[in-house]
Structures are given as structure tokens and as C-alpha cells.
């Protein structure tokens, strides 16, 4: 067996144990990226909201919801990916059930968000063009 020296790794007797640890870290990384995407989207939306409150930009609340919705949808994709990775290493049936419920919630939300984004993009928005926002 090869001994790896990157942080967090301890030598185990089998490949399976190594995979459980590796998938755990991978899941954490993907989950963190998803959370970061949500955080960045929320911060950018707040910035735009403040600009529109101050009258410096003409963003409607629908524009802002669409903008934040895109980030939430992308963050959700990362969360779903981390959930799929988690099912690979979930040790008990109860944990699998909980993961399944979380996946369903996230998938349903993603579906609604995508539908709204498609609908908003299909609508004619002359006001958005005029404001340049």
C-alpha cells in the first residue's frame, strides 16, 4: 500500500477506507463551493439592492430575484453533487433516508428556480434594456 502524505490522511488497511476519507473531503469541498456561490450571490444582490434604493441604478425587485435566483440555482447544483457523494459513504439507512429527503427538496427547488428563470428570460423586458441593468 502506498503511504500518502497530504494533510488529513492516515494510513488505513484497505482501499475502501481510503475512499471513504477521500470522498468525505471531496464532498466537503463541493459543499463549500456551493455555499460560497450562495454567499457571493447574496452579497452581489444586496449590493445591487442598495444601489437601487439609493437611486444609482434602476433594478426592479424582479431583476434582483432573477439575479439571486441564478446564484441559488448554481449553488444548488453543487449541493446536489455533494449529496450524491454523501450517499456513497452514508453508513446507515436513516442517514440515506435523510439524504434522500434533502436531495428531493433541493431538486424541487432547483426545478422551480429554473422554471422561473426561463419564464423571466422569455418575457419582453424593455425596462431592463433601458436601464442597462
Amino acid at each position: 500500500m502506498l503511504l500518502f502524505t497530504f494533510p488529513g490522511f492516515r494510513y488505513y488497511g484497505g482501499v475502501e477506507e481510503f475512499l471513504v476519507v477521500a470522498v468525505g473531503y471531496l464532498r466537503l469541498a463541493v459543499e463549500a463551493i456551493g455555499a460560497a456561490v450562495i454567499g457571493i450571490g447574496a452579497s452581489a444582490t444586496v449590493f445591487r439592492y442598495v444601489l437601487s434604493l439609493l437611486g444609482l441604478r434602476k433594478y426592479t425587485n424582479s431583476d434582483l430575484r432573477l439575479y439571486l435566483g441564478r446564484f441559488l440555482a448554481l449553488g444548488l447544483e453543487f449541493q446536489l453533487a455533494s449529496d450524491i457523494l454523501a450517499t456513497a459513504v452514508a453508513p446507515t439507512f436513516e442517514e440515506v433516508q435523510l439524504l434522500a429527503a434533502i436531495v428531493v427538496i433541493r431538486t424541487v427547488l432547483n426545478y422551480f428556480l429554473q422554471k422561473e428563470l426561463e419564464r423571466e428570460q422569455d418575457l419582453p423586458r424593455p425596462a431592463r434594456d433601458a436601464s442597462g441593468g
Binding site: 450562495i38 425587485n61 424582479s62 427538496i105 427547488l109 422561473e116
Partner: protein, 102 residues
Amino acid sequence: MDLYYVGLDVLRSALLFVGSVVIFIGVAWAVLEALRVGFGPHVPRRMVDNMALGLEFFIGAGLLNLIINPTWTAVQVTALIIVVRKLVTISFNRLERGSGEG
């Protein structure tokens, strides 16, 4: 690892706070408009519009809560937020259609 979850918790709290502020601003603005211009369809429309935006932030907080606290309660709360958001969006679309026809 603790720092990671503390950071997520701070972000979640910030999203809840921002969503609450957005809803409050919408209600306050609608009340001021009603006092200034008089009550009309624009008043509930502004409130619902801001509620819908505030709920988007609540959904973001709910998603982060599912990471921090993956429990059945968190799943139910997030599901309820999604349902409420959908109802608010439907209400807003009806108000928009109503003001367009009226």
C-alpha cells in the same frame, strides 16, 4: 472544521437578517406610499414584491441550514419556505395581472 460551520452559520444569519430587512423596507415603503398617494393596488403589490425578494434570501438561508443542520426539522422548514415563496410569487403575478387589466 468548526471554523467552516461557524462561517456558514454567520452567512446564514446574515441572509436571514437581509431578507427580514428587505421585507421590512417593502412594508414601510408601501405604508409611506399609501399615506402620501392613497391606498391603491400599488400598495399590496410593493409589499408582495419585496416579500418575494426577502423570501429568496430566506431560501438561501434555508439551504445553508441544510448543510449546518441536516435534520428532518431543517428539511421541513426549507420545504415550507419553498411553498410560501411559491404562494407569494403566485400572489404577486395575480396582482400584476390584476393591475394590468384594471
